[in-house]
Symmetry: C2
Subunit: 355 residues, 2 copies
């Protein structure tokens, strides 16, 4: 990937930056937006060249298809700045590829890779000052595409809008995370859209998650919709389960998102000599391991939450507490991935991309 | 339901109507919008009183949750005008109830019934002239709610917008309809959101439907995601299958939309002495009936397409042609329901609502 844009990107800058209004020491997640955004529209059968403009509202007709048919996809990645003020991304090509995998499933025209990669880098150069350096903070980057064509006919849109917006953000979760293993609701179907970062997948999780929150949990762990016996993933994280010394994670499928963090953690764990088993894992197996003391850790892995240790889970009206280990895999793996991401450690995998 | 609004609805009328630009003899479906719309917002924990305003664009921040998480639901019904210029709706209370069923599943705050019913009637009074009277035409009414709050956190919005927009429309399908019985993709999961009119359900159908269209079919008939053995429904229609003299339709479930047309057709058919069987029906049974000549009709039933006879279907690379009957149930039932809707026949069921 070149550092040079291979075409002249139009950049319209803000007259006055909003950056001085921001308290970078007290960032929440995804609530404050940087000065600029990238925008690119699809019309008459083609994506137009992206441009960078001041972060601004969109004007849309009430019949715009996104409101009615949820034809939209997104990505999520983070930009980091090291002590030299150099800017880094983590495996952004994976997000670009996945965006187009999601696009295909949602009948959205695929986006030229260069529009994504060059556009992203150009945007980060313009808004470099917005990248926080505080521990646990980063610039959350949100590329998304939505159906911006009009009409009530339930069919794909003829126009789309691709935007990259960025938000200086603190941690996604605050404090310990407990989860509820879901026995009734489900997130995705065989032959469905679960493997895509399709907008509607997330709305569908809100109500079951609210019910879990009312019961005192932070998140739902989704199981397959047919038997509810297989552990799939959490709201925006893939799930790792450590039994004895082995780290187990479900294989991806058309129901499970192929997370960038998940596959990076698998590689890092292997390189650390941790035995990793990518296989289906049943709820019964986890309960049995909890009961006989071999269940050591559960953690979520995802861009927003990085590596998120789970302190306990509920299943069939019973609560299970995870042991507090001295040197959990989660901490070690989180440090390893974060150090690579933030240019604090060597990157033997070639994942880090300098902007 | 009273004809009087029980509060004073604010109405801001257009300065100049666009109605003279419309060719009412050549209407497509859902592409032209009437002069006004109803709008109602949810903020600080409550729905504000709806008002009627000129149909107009919405201004939304790029972080608005609808773009990212597809938290949106909709309804679809039709308004008709008889030769006396009286305006009628068909079972609008069912749409209102279903909107709130969808709302609950999608973690959207339920809308007060009066806001829906009184708002709808007031809007139709204002835009009465937009209701077409041409055969097969009607005013398509689209109530919808979308997440209008901001932020990249994958959690329910704190603000919502409810809009009713209307579109003078012609038939949804033109010509014969053929369908493909789906063997790989699916529309909904057990414990999922299939029974809700959730925006994302529709986007998820676009790609498999495109594949079917490329093979020469108009629509997909969805089957269960686990075995693909059970007939569920079509894109925006419930499905009826006539074997010998019996009309069979699948029971509704958490995967299947509880269609207003479906339940009305069941009642009308029964009142006509047609044997109706609400039960699960397998693809194998339909194929067997096609092969032994007992399969007489398949038709879809839904607000947009009314009763839509299917002339043939594909399954496992084989095409099956439905016989051309002299007096198909579909025609009879379509006439009966349309006559009730348009005030051309007595309404023994009490379904018609005068606006
Ligand atoms: C459903 C789902 N699973 C898993 C993940 C983790 O994927 P990644 O590590 O690429 O962020 C995400 C979030 O991005 C997600 O939305
Ligand atoms: C998925 C689905 N099934 C069935 C229907 C038919 O329902 P109704 O008869 O209430 O329009 C619709 C359309 O509204 C639908 O979207």
């Amino acid at each position: 990937m070149s550092d040079q844009l291979n075409y002249n990107m139009e950049v319209i800058k803000v007259e006055k930056s909003r950056i001085n209004d921001v308290d970078f020491n007290n960032l929440s997640f995804g609530k404050i937006f940087s000065d600029h955004m990238l925008i690119c529209t699809y019309k008459n059968g083609a994506w137009n060249a992206p441009k960078i403009v001041p972060y601004q509202s969109l004007t849309l007709d009430p019949s715009t298809k996104i409101f009615h048919y949820g034809q939209a996809i997104f990505e999520g990645l983070k930009a980091y700045k090291d002590s030299n003020n150099d800017v880094f991304l983590f495996r952004p090509d994976e997000n670009c590829k996945r965006l187009n995998i999601s696009a295909k499933r949602m009948a959205i025209p695929e986006l030229p890779e260069a529009y994504f990669m060059d556009g992203l880098k150009a945007l980060l150069q313009v808004d470099k000052d917005w990248i926080p350096t505080q521990d646990g903070s980063s610039l959350y980057v949100r590329p998304f595409i939505f159906a911006s064509g009009r009409g009530f006919h339930a069919s794909p849109s003829d126009e789309y809008t691709f935007i990259i917006a960025t938000a200086p953000s603190g941690p996604y979760f605050s404090g310990k995370v407990t989860v509820l293993i879901e026995e009734h609701y489900s997130r995705s179907a065989n032959g469905g859209v679960g493997y895509a970062k399709a907008a509607g997948n997330y709305a569908g999780q809100f109500y079951p998650t609210q019910l879990a929150v009312e019961k005192g949990y932070n998140q739902v762990i989704w199981t397959d919709d047919n038997t509810h016996e297989y552990i799939e993933e959490a709201g925006a994280m893939n799930i790792f389960i450590r039994i004895n010394d082995t780290l187990i994670t479900s294989p991806t499928s058309d129901r499970i998102l192929d997370g960038v963090t998940r596959k990076s953690i698998i590689d890092i764990a292997k390189s650390e000599g941790i035995p990793v088993d990518v296989r289906k894992i049943t709820v019964s197996e986890v309960i049995e391991a909890a009961n006989n003391g071999t269940l050591k850790e559960i953690f979520g892995a995802g861009t927003a939450a990085v590596v998120s240790p789970i302190s306990g889970f509920g299943f069939k009206n019973k609560d299970y507490i995870l042991p507090e280990l001295e040197n959990p895999y989660a901490n070690k793996l989180k440090k390893r991935i974060t150090d690579i991401q933030t240019n604090k450690a060597e990157d033997a995998f070639g994942w880090r991309v300098k902007v």
